[in-house]
């Protein structure tokens, strides 16, 4: 059986997460275009999510 594939996803607060590629992505989350195994996706998040402040905090809104 093939290893399950995941997507790196992001919401409007620019928080990252991962989601199974065969499952419908919940509303408000967007595919960042990176897909791979679970470990590959988490390693990718480690690289790209450099500022963990939610966007609204960063912009001084909350």
């Amino acid at each position: 059986m093939a290893e399950p594939r995941f997507l790196v996803v992001r919401n409007d607060e620019e928080q990252y997460s991962i989601w199974s590629a065969d499952r419908e992505l919940p509303a408000g989350w967007h595919d960042t275009g990176f897909a791979g195994s679970r470990e590959e996706c988490l390693a990718h998040v480690d690289e790209v999510w450099t500022d963990m402040r939610p966007r609204s905090v960063r912009e001084g809104i909350s």
Binding site: M1, W19, G28, C41, L42, M52
Partner: protein
């Protein structure tokens, strides 16, 4: 005297006989057949008709007997006997029917003893103008196809009686006993070995017991008590089942089974499902017209792994059933002996669930209140039913199983290409319930700083903090914190930075926490009592802008350090800081603290919790815990988020924080606190002086009613709240309040319902909500979620997932905890997902073992653990604190718990080891001393009864030397040999010793004790003269 002939019993008779021995007083094996004679048939004719059938079928003249330790069937010559009659025709119509039902029910529920012919009972009951037959036969001589044959012969013989012709009934070339003899000759040697090899291979590694969620723990002994839920499948569903079957080269039964396997997998979480199916056992044409017991159950093992589509699952079930049926003649008891020789009397061997498709025979008209299986469906074209074991399931749960089966089956046959994991189980209403209800509450989004300053302005003179004999008022505490905060800002603290607090429990610690919050930074508590290596790790992991230390702890600090020497900040203004005083404006979205938690794997990680999450929790806590406005005893390290309630909750409610170690005199100075939060492990420490007057909050670990019982009995006037919450969802996110005076039931205490603006989702592996009663992983959503893990984006992404059931873009935190929703919507906590342990294939619920240990009056505290010491098999170990003797505890556990939950070893401790946070320190539980009896630990039988039992074991099992502590099954016994052993013992001592005594007490000494007890009980029942007579007779024989 009536002539009789003796033949070996068939395997099916032997199996029913053995099962019957477990409770001979149960009507579980009664099979009822209703029949109405046509009008005009009188009682004499009706009696003759039944007698004709009895004359034709030897099975109806057969009973069973143990001869020389072997079970035989005894066939008697036919002697026509008129059936008893009851005339109800004089009763009014309504009463008549009720009386008929009563008579029929009474007959159906009266046990039929296997050792006297005939093994059936009948009554002729006259209704308005015709006779009805109530007929009940023991399953040892009658199966469901027999009922079909019986009907056909009644009809044919009645018709013949009317016309005077010969009845149209088939010739019977052989009789049931001939079949039994043939079967015994057939299934021997290589043939039997070959068949058993298939089954041992087929069932290798299969789960010993289903993971179905139970309403109650398994009792130590299975009984036959059961109940049933009757239902009718929706119109057209069986047609669609049939249509799918045709297209898939399968039978309707296979479709029904695939639906059942899918349901079991979804509600148990098992991907390896074993279901009982019955083979008719009438493959030879000569057997087809015979009344008798031919049915043989076999196990269908279904692989539901890899989230197959329903069509794929149907294919697997089809192949599995064909294989099973090809080997369906292997006697089930032989399969049990081959695959599951170590019987656990709390679990039915091999399978616990079954599904029968009986389109022809229909249901038994009488509900017997019995069951053989934990859950068993009987599906017919008319009324169907689910029979369930009432010791394990409530009626509501059984009804829910039926609803879910019907819903899942309907969806599966409509869309067989859907995956099993995506098939719907819930109705819309149930879905709303499991998605957690509405917790919305209008709470202002603020910072902890605003909340504390609001309180300081409102009650400046009230005592805010008592510590080391010093009392600080709100005004004093607030001013001190303001002064230090200004200094922290000057040293670089501000929003989105961290300040580590390397401080012991002291006034300074509380002042410094508030000061860090006021500066806009997040505080990171680092307990100076930690080992140097851990302190260094935490300080480097948190990347603080500044470390605050005392002169004593400064040596452990690294980087920029501020040492508190009593004078620090004294020259700073004492008024509240404004955003203008900070490096950047402080917002509710900025972090308030970073607390390190140790996961099951890896190094501690810092959980970043924002002000808005803390104030959301505190608003709920202040409303829930009135005691926070009084005196809160704060005893745990502040690095543990349990303390947030007593510290920040109190300081935002106008109460007084008493800071003291729980075992110090200072904890008691000033009278009982009004609020106290502890872990369950602290409960034994709470005496009268420490116990709170208003709120006792328990968190951090699973809580059982048994742990709480002692304290609760002494303090019924206090509210107890069981609070659940990972640090990642801020202190407490699900809670259950036990109001003053409300009772506490034994077993797990529920964790309740979510706090305000919080959701608690229970999802399965496919993120589908699980039905009430079903175990799922707990996911938390809403206002109290942490931002994530400090500097660990990957780990944060892994644990904080997109939420399919919330507003767009919402996250849910995967707690890794298992929970179950009760029908009233409250949650039960069931432990860590990673901690699910199995011993010999049986899932172990440590909480159940711990609760049973605590139920012993002389056990004060207890723990249970599964250990793998010395690389061997995992074993269950119980730990106890208190004066109880191990033997008495073990005996009590054996009475209360299923065998697999009785610890293999018990260890007595002076106290349970606790972590600094007050939780049970599982890693510090010691290994049990090697208590396994050594090979040569032979204990010679010590009493006459032990001597007898040992001799019988040795003889039947062909073992040279049997000691008092030897176990029948460990020595190689099985149920068949057990039957022989019990027959021998019964013959020797003439006591009524049921078969179940051996299953319950297979050790020589235990069984001997049972025998002695029974003899004593029988003597008790005799009068003095009878005893004297017996003794005299005994004398005479010696």
């Amino acid at each position: 005297m009536t002539r009789e002939w003796t033949f070996p019993a068939s395997y099916a008779q032997e199996r029913v006989w053995m099962a019957n021995q477990l409770d001979a007083g149960s009507p579980v094996f009664n099979v009822s057949v209703p029949w109405a004679f046509p009008a005009g048939v009188d009682a004499g004719t009706a009696s003759d008709v039944v007698n004709r059938i009895v004359a034709r079928h030897e099975a109806l003249r057969t009973h069973l007997r143990v001869d020389d330790g072997a079970l035989v069937q005894v066939v008697r010559a036919h002697e026509p006997t008129p059936l008893p009659t009851v005339d109800l025709s004089h009763l009014p119509a309504g009463e008549r029917l009720a009386e008929f039902e009563r008579l029929r029910g009474e007959l159906a529920r009266t046990p039929i003893s296997l050792d006297a012919a005939p093994l059936w009972r009948a009554r002729l009951i006259r209704l308005e103008d015709a006779w009805a037959l109530a007929f009940v036969a023991h399953h040892a001589v009658f199966d469901s196809h027999s009922a079909v044959l019986f009907h056909a012969e009644l009809a044919a013989i009645c018709e013949a009686a009317r016309t005077g012709a010969e009845p149209a009934v088939p010739e019977l070339p052989i009789q049931y006993a001939d079949f039994a003899v043939w079967q015994r000759e057939q299934l021997t040697g290589d043939e039997l070995t070959r068949q058993l090899a298939f089954w041992t291979g087929h069932l290798a590694g299969a789960p010993a017991v289903t993971g179905l969620p139970l309403d109650r723990p398994r009792p130590a002994q299975l009984g036959f008590a059961g109940d049933e839920v009757r239902f009718t499948l929706p119109d057209g569903l069986l047609d669609r089942v049939g249509a799918l079957a045709v297209g898939a080269q399968a039978t309707p039964y296979m479709v029904l089974l695939a639906g059942f396997a899918a349901l079991l997998s979804r509600i148990s979480g098992d991907t390896d499902v074993v279901v009982g199916v019955s083979t008719a056992g009438r493959d030879n044409p000569e057997l087809a017209p015979l009344i008798g017991m031919f049915v043989n159950p076999v196990a269908l093992r279904c692989d539901v792994s890899g989230d197959p589509t329903f069509a794929e699952l149907l294919g697997r079930v089809r192949n599995g059933l064909i294989d099973a049926m090809e080997h369906g003649q292997t006697p089930f008891q032989k399969i049990v002996e081959a695959v599951d020789p170590q019987r656990d009397p709390s679990v039915q061997p091999v399978f616990q669930t079954a599904l029968n498709w009986i389109p022809d025979s229909g249901l038994d008209p009488v509900e017997l209140g019995t069951t053989k299986d934990d859950l068993a469906f009987d599906i017919t074209t008319g009324e169907s039913r689910l029979v369930y074991r009432s010791a394990l399931f409530d009626r509501g749960s059984a009804a829910a199983v039926v609803r879910r089966y019907v819903r899942l089956l309907a969806a599966a046959v409509a869309e067989p290409e859907r995956t099993v994991g995506a098939l719907p189980l819930l109705t819309d209403d149930e879905r709303d319930l499991v998605l957690g209800g509405d917790t919305a509450r209008d709470v202002p989004v603020t910072t902890v700083v605003d909340e504390v300053q609001r309180q300081a302005a409102a009650t400046p003179e009230t005592a805010a903090l008592v510590c080391d004999g010093v009392t600080l008022s709100y005004a004093e505490l607030n001013t001190a914190a303001n002064r230090l905060a200004r200094l922290l800002v000057a040293r670089g603290a501000g929003p989105e930075t961290r300040v580590a607090l390397l401080l012991p429990r002291s006034c300074e610690l509380v002042v410094a926490m508030l000061a860090v919050l006021k500066s806009g930074a997040a505080y990171v508590p680092v307990d100076p009592a930690y080992p140097a290596g851990r302190i260094a790790y935490l300080l480097s992991d948190a990347t603080p802008a500044l470390v605050v230390a005392t002169p004593d702890t400064a040596a452990s600090a690294a980087g920029d350090t501020l040492v508190l020497d009593g004078e620090v900040g004294a020259d700073q203004p004492g008024d509240d800081l404004t955003d203008a005083d900070r490096s950047a404006p402080l917002r509710p979205g900025h972090p308030a603290y970073v607390l390190h938690t140790s996961g099951s794997t890896g190094r501690p990680k810092g959980v970043v919790v924002e002000h808005r999450a803390v104030t959301a929790y505190l608003a709920w806590a202040r409303a829930t815990y009135p005691g926070l406005a009084g005196v809160a005893l704060l005893h745990s390290p502040v690095s543990f988020d349990l303390t947030v309630t007593g510290l920040l909750g109190t300081l935002t409610a106008g109460g007084t924080v008493r800071l003291a170690a729980i075992d110090s005199p200072a904890a008691r100075a000033g009278g009982r606190p009004s609020f106290l939060k502890v872990t369950p492990s602290h409960l034994p420490l709470l005496d009268g002086e420490l116990s709170p007057t208003t709120d006792l909050v328990i968190g951090g670990e699973a809580l059982s009613g048994e742990q709480l019982a002692g304290w609760r009995a002494a303090h019924p006037e206090v509210a107890v709240v069981n609070e659940y919450g990972p640090t990642e969802a801020t202190v407490g996110c699900v809670a259950a309040r036990i109001a003053p005076g409300a009772p506490v039931a034994p077993g797990p205490v529920p964790i309740g319902t979510p706090t305000w603006n919080t959701g608690a989702l229970l999802l399965d592996g496919a993120f589908q909500p699980v039905p009430p009663g079903v175990v799922g992983e707990l996911y938390v959503t809403g206002a109290q979620l942490a931002r994530g893990y400090h500097d660990r984006p990957g780990l944060t992404a892994e644990r904080f997932l997109p939420c399919p059931y919330g507003p767009p873009g919402a996250r849910m935190y995967a707690t890794g905890d298992l929970a179950r929703r009760r029908p009233d919507g409250t949650l039960d906590y069931l432990g860590r997902r990673d901690d699910q342990v199995k011993v010999r294939g049986m899932r172990i619920e440590l909480g159940e073992v711990e609760a049973a240990l605590l139920a012993h009056p002389d056990v004060r505290a207890a723990a249970a653990a599964v250990r793998v010491d010395g690389g061997g098999e995992p074993t269950l170990v119980g730990y106890l604190v208190g004066p109880a003797h191990e033997d008495s505890v073990r005996a009590e556990l054996a009475r209360e718990l299923p065998a697999h939950l009785v610890p293999a070893a018990l260890v007595r401790l002076d106290a349970l080891p606790l972590t600094p946070n007050g939780k049970l320190d599982r890693a510090a539980l010691p290994a049990p001393a090697a208590t396994e009896p050594a090979e040569d630990s032979y204990v010679a039988p010590r009493t006459e009864a032990e001597g007898l039992v040992a001799e019988v074991y040795a003889d039947i099992l062909q073992v040279e030397k049997v000691g008092a502590l030897d176990d029948f099954f460990t020595l190689g016994g099985n149920s068949l040999r057990g039957m022989r052993a019990m027959a021998r013992i019964r013959a020797e001592v003439d006591v009524d010793l049921p078969m179940r005594a051996l299953f319950a007490s297979p050790v020589v000494a235990d069984l001997a004790a049972q025998i002695e007890q029974r003899i004593a009980a029988e003597l008790d029942g005799l009068s003095d003269t009878e005893v004297a007579a017996l003794l005299a007779a005994e004398e005479g024989t010696n």
